[in-house]
């Protein structure tokens, strides 16, 4: 195939309406707030799996904590009738992600799985993606971090350790996604099946509030939870098309 034919074929591929929504998979996470106990096991699991640095007391006081998933806590009402609400917040893997358009070097882009990926090596640290993200789930490495011995021995070899000046965020444990796809290919299966992949947070959740799967597979749990009447997206009005769906907590008082 000469260069002209190659050009024409790729041109035609992009001329197809909706090509940008035609992903191999559409990884989705559903978070059932009725089941979530706010125990923060997901936060710890994520920290261990993804080599997220412990920034220390000083940096924490400056407001530079690193949690790819965090539990946001809100109080409602005044003291006698105060009510505590919380919501796990992580990268929403938006299909129309504001962070992707703004990066001048395309260090963050949408991959064929519908994931919003971050290429650490390409990042030059303009931090504009963090400004553009309405969910505030992008974390910047304000300095290089180190792990005291023997903690440096427990770093995950499948995940790169980020240096100073680089942005990072939840990847839906892309290393596990890649592994599952490789296994599926080796077994001669065409597609990854439901239950083949669990990101660290989903694996750890004791109440199974977090569910992960492919929403293109109509039998998957996440596809069903999308049809749940309790389902909603955070900041839906911004039209970022998030891949994380929340199931509303239903209280006795509505």
């Amino acid at each position: 195939m000469n260069i002209m034919e190659r050009f024409i074929s790729s041109w035609q591929k992009y001329r197809k309406p909706g090509y940008y929504e035609d992903f191999d998979y559409a990884w989705t996470m559903s978070i059932d707030l009725d089941r979530c106990t706010g125990c923060s096991a997901c936060v710890t699991a994520c920290q261990a799996e993804n080599n997220i640095p412990i920034v220390g007391e000083k940096e924490l006081a400056k407001g530079r904590e690193m949690h790819w998933i965090r539990i946001e806590r809100y109080w409602e009402g005044e003291y006698p009738n105060a009510k505590l609400k919380f919501i796990p917040m992580l990268c929403q893997q938006c299909d129309a992600a504001p962070c992707e358009t703004v990066c001048p070097v395309s260090a963050t882009y949408h991959n064929q799985d519908g994931l919003n990926t971050q290429v650490y090596n390409r990042c030059i640290g303009t931090r504009s993606c963090a400004v553009y993200c309405p969910y505030e789930v992008r974390y910047f490495n304000y300095n290089s971090h180190h792990w005291d011995s023997p903690l440096d021995q427990q770093l995950n070899p499948d995940v790169s350790v980020r240096e100073k000046g680089v942005m990072e965020k939840c990847t839906f444990c892309i290393q596990r996604v890649r592994q599952a796809k490789d296994h599926a290919k080796d077994d001669g299966r065409r597609r990854v099946q439901e239950g083949d992949i669990q990101p660290a947070c989903v694996q750890t959740c004791p109440s199974e509030a977090l569910v992960f799967g492919d929403r293109k597979d109509s039998n998957s749990k996440v596809a069903k939870s999308l049809a749940d009447p309790r389902a909603y997206h955070v900041l839906d009005e911004l039209n970022t098309l998030p891949s994380v769906v929340y199931l509303k907590k239903v209280d006795s008082d509505g």
């Binding site: 400056k62 530079r64 640290g125 303009t126 931090r127 553009y132 309405p134 969910y135 000046g165």
Partner: protein, 451 residues
């Protein structure tokens, strides 16, 4: 012009300007040494520390990831605006009073653009990879992201720097030639190179005039586009308080406003310390003052409009943002900005104020302090109040940031001090155009000397 003491002659113009290049006093060297020292100590030293340690040396935190570095970038880009733009507009409208001041105004443009470009290097997390933001062919076949407003910015600013550089250089060619014919030694060789063999023939003058006007017309839309695009860095985000269509005109007006104030400051200093009393007169301050007054009124109007947009949106996020700006943590800065940029410039209504030099100097500096505050607030105050209240956090600049801000000013001054000794900082040939034709009562020798 030049009626104050005795009738200025053409030769006097040459003498004055060439003297400003060749005769260097002690005070100049002291000023230059101080500026270079402050630049090294306050700009480069903290910057190198930051390169070693990481951006953590600055005070930025989790939601407020942009800080004074970006505010300084916008400020310097803004300051760059008036120079070349004003010079171009006044050139095509045939304003006589432009001729004594445009060279230094254009130099201000060029140097603030340079400082702004350095601020980008200071701002990014890994400046050693900054070239990735340029579209150059590489074996990785990776290109920058052309959808990114930051990318538009790189393009727009590069174009503006190139345009301004060509514009100031081309306008100086006849002056380089004039200085070439008056100097000796290494200076002579330098100006032989710079003047590109200018002889002053009719054809050369004709072509220069044509090309100069062409560039002037070209640069006006360029200048407007640059700051519109800088505003899109902010306006294209979803951040409440930034995501507004008014931002492009707001930034353009703000840029011209602070730039004009900057010109007033530079005019004052040139007049006072370079002995350009004959060229830079009350007329210039009067006219620049009128311009400042108009700009301050437009700027105030847009500010009121911005508040109205926030209130009119009716969304809780915009409303919270508005409340935070007016009464929150950064409110003292906001009211300081209003005082310096909206209230104080109303003094310019009086002609007496416009034509007195020291009050104009003080006002012009106050306006630029206010405009820097504006840029800081646009970044600091909005980013610390976004959609999710859990992530709200105030941002206070660190010592390193403040030092780099002071150092960037010293860098600008250093560049300017070097400029006044290399470039004729008042246009020799255009100032002569505004003077009366010499009378031949003293014979023809003087006429020849002037050419």
């Amino acid at each position: 012009m030049g009626n104050e003491e005795r009738q200025m002659q053409f030769a006097d113009v040459n003498d004055d300007v060439v003297r400003s290049l060749t005769e260097t006093g002690r005070s100049y060297y002291i000023a230059l040494a101080t500026a270079i020292f402050v630049m090294l100590a306050c700009f480069f030293f903290p910057w190198f520390y930051q390169l070693y340690y990481g951006i953590g040396a600055a005070g930025m935190n989790h939601p407020t990831v942009w800080g004074t570095y970006l505010a300084s970038f916008v400020f310097w880009i803004g300051l760059s605006h008036s120079g070349t733009l004003l010079s171009c507009v006044l050139h095509i409208t045939n304003s006589e009073w432009r001729k004594a001041m445009y060279r230094s105004a254009e130099a201000m443009t060029l140097f603030s653009l340079m400082v702004a470009a350095t601020m980008v290097m200071v701002h990014v997390g890994r400046p050693w990879f900054i070239h990735w933001a340029l579209p150059y062919p590489n074996q990785m076949e990776l290109w920058p992201n052309f959808r990114s407003p930051l990318m538009f910015d790189v393009m727009a600013i590069t174009t503006y720097v190139t345009g301004s550089l060509i514009f100031i250089y081309m306008g100086s060619i006849p002056d380089f030639a004039a200085v070439r014919d008056r100097t000796t030694g290494w200076r002579h060789h330098l100006y032989v190179l710079l003047s590109l063999g200018w002889r002053g023939t009719d054809t050369e003058w004709h072509r220069l005039g044509w090309a100069y006007t062409f560039l002037a017309v070209l640069i006006i839309p360029l200048a407007v586009s640059v700051h519109s695009i800088v505003s899109w860095d902010f306006a294209m985000s979803l951040v409440p308080g930034l995501h507004q269509t008014i931002f492009a005109p707001y930034f353009v007006v703000g840029a011209i406003y602070s730039g004009t104030a900057g010109i007033v400051t530079v005019m004052y200093v040139l007049r006072k310390y370079m002995n350009f009393e004959h060229f830079i007169t009350k007329l210039h301050f009067d006219n620049l003052g009128k311009l400042l007054l108009v700009l301050s009124l437009i700027w105030t109007y847009i500010n009121i409009l911005e508040l109205f947009t926030g209130w009119f949106s009716g969304t809780s996020t915009e409303y919270e943002q508005l409340k935070y700006k007016l009464f929150g943590f950064y409110a003292p800065l906001y009211w300081e900005m209003i005082l310096f940029c909206a209230v104080a410039p109303l003094l310019l209504i009086s002609k007496k104020f416009r034509t007195s030099f020291v009050p104009m100097l003080i006002l012009s500096i106050a306006i630029n302090i206010g405009m820097y505050t504006e840029r800081f607030l646009i970044i600091g105050a909005t980013l610390s109040r976004q959609y999710l209240p859990n992530a709200w956090r105030v941002y206070v600049p660190s010592l390193v940031e403040i030092s780099i801000l002071v150092g960037s000013l010293a860098t600008f001054i250093t560049l300017f001090l070097l400029f006044v000794k290399i470039f004729p900082s008042v246009s020799i040939y255009e100032v002569k155009e505004t003077m009366e034709t010499p009378k031949s009562k003293k014979g023809d020798t003087e006429w020849q000397a002037a050419h």
